[in-house]
């Protein structure tokens, strides 16, 4: 995973969201304002998630990795979010299976092949119980960022 796709300004801790759409709406405002995505991003990501859900059934906590086509992305990013209350999120390739998701990483991929390693690194680290515990307990975005930057397998 490329560290330069992680931006502290995109980290949200204890974010309030009633459901997936509410989550996307709130995050899109921020991503649009900061110049990471185009206006078409919100509709695209909502639509895609509804059709092809992205919750990964990993342990200890299920994690969602919503993303959409590159055409809606201006600047590649990963937006790490920790929700205040878990949101029901459907499982990837098992649309009827729901998970209570607290950790979401929006992937703003621009179509290069860098994200290939990135996803593998992310998913492997999501299964690190100690890391997930630390992420759960982190108090500030700075702390959260630090934890993500020392994930195993993270390259320049």
């Amino acid at each position: 995973m490329k560290r330069d796709m992680l931006y502290e300004e995109l980290i949200e801790l204890d974010m309030e969201a009633a459901d997936i759409d509410d989550f996307f709406e709130k995050m899109s405002v921020k991503l649009l304002k900061l110049g990471y995505v185009k206006e078409t991003f919100l509709e695209a990501i909502k639509k895609r998630e509804a059709e092809y859900p992205t919750a990964l059934p990993v342990e200890p906590y299920a994690v969602a990795i919503p993303h959409t086509d590159s055409e809606h992305i201006i600047k590649p990013f990963i937006a790490p979010v920790r929700l205040k209350k878990t949101v029901k999120w459907c499982e990837m390739a098992a649309n009827d299976v729901e998970h209570d998701v607290r950790f979401v990483f929006i992937l703003g991929i621009h179509g290069s092949n860098e994200h290939v390693e990135l996803l593998q690194v992310l998913v492997e680290n999501f299964q690190d119980a100690q890391l997930m515990k630390d992420l759960l307990e982190a108090r500030t975005s700075k702390q959260y960022m630090k934890l993500l930057l020392i994930m195993k397998g993270l390259a320049g």
Partner: protein, 91 residues
């Protein structure tokens, strides 16, 4: 060389990651097959010429070739079982 296809919702993230990982695993196991990332819409067209289809989305229909659970390769959970199935399909 056997062909294996993989497709996901948008083709930018999960299918590429799974293809990369599976190609590496196949090589390690000395299986003469290659995983190709294709568009979800193109799946039907490739079925006839493929040994297996690695699905990362919910499959709504039956296929004449083995359908492998792609999420297992993404998360690593249940990967060994799916890899075995894949290797069998390539024989």
């Amino acid at each position: 060389m056997k062909k294996i296809i993989v497709a996901c919702g948008s083709g930018v993230a999960t299918s590429q990651t799974v293809a990369s990982k599976v190609n590496r695993l196949l090589k390690e196991n000395k299986v003469d097959a290659n995983v190709e990332v294709i568009d979800l819409k193109s799946v039907d067209r490739h079925i006839a010429s493929s040994a297996a289809y690695i699905a990362i989305t919910k499959t709504k229909k039956e296929y004449p070739i083995p359908v492998i659970n792609g999420i297992a390769f993404l998360t690593g959970i249940g990967q060994d079982v799916e890899l075995k199935k894949l290797i069998e399909a390539c024989k």
